[in-house]
Assembly symmetry: C2
Homo-oligomer: 91 residues x 2
DNA sequence: CATGACAGTGATACTAATACCGGTGCGCGA
DNA sequence: TCGCGCACCGGTATTAGTATCACTGTCATG
């Protein structure tokens, strides 16, 4: 086995992350935020919609920064944020 | 153009992240920390050595959590952590 | 109604992340 | 010296992330 497909739990976690980001974006447009963060609008849209469940670390950092979000706060709002559970979830 | 290769700056940023994680790991073994974080030791080793410059968000979160690191603190120790620069760097 | 900005979708293309395997080298205790 | 554990590397295999493009739908405004 080499590079196991993402589990359902992992995808759901991605959706929660996406929702949190979208909520924080509030009124601003996707294009606006994505451009400021240095990523393409499509990518941000996919992250927000949960279609990219495990985005790159620095991508999330850039978006959170543009939105004025603290990463720690962002994570706290996701629930289920203790160590192994973050990476293992329903494996 | 479709999925541009990582720039040198991005790779260097990855190396800084890796060094920070390795420093925080202190005496513990890679195997120990990786197992607790729910990832393979190889992956953690590659991240620490900078051979995975942009690891997945939740992977970093899991490792930081095991090490008792705050993500915000971790980032602060990386330097060059403002918005667009995080994702754009030398693009 | 026409136009334009934004959101959403699906396809395509290419690189990156991750896991597993086999092998190497080092230090330490039996 | 012989294991043994740990770190490291290179290769292989597979999925995921990201960008670009080409649509469609909606809604406000001219």
């Amino acid at each position: 086995m080499v590079r196991v497909p993402l589990t359902i739990s992992e995808r759901e976690r991605g959706e929660r992350l996406g929702r949190a980001l979208r909520t924080a974006r509030a009124g601003r447009s996707i294009v606006d935020v994505a451009t400021q963060a240095g990523i393409s609008p499509e990518t941000l849209r996919k992250i927000e919609r949960g279609r990219i469940p495990t985005p790159a670390f620095f991508t999330v950092v850039a978006v959170a920064d543009v939105l004025g979000l603290s990463l720690d706060d962002l994570l706290a709002g996701l629930g289920a944020d203790d160590a192994a559970e973050m990476a293992t979830l329903g494996r």
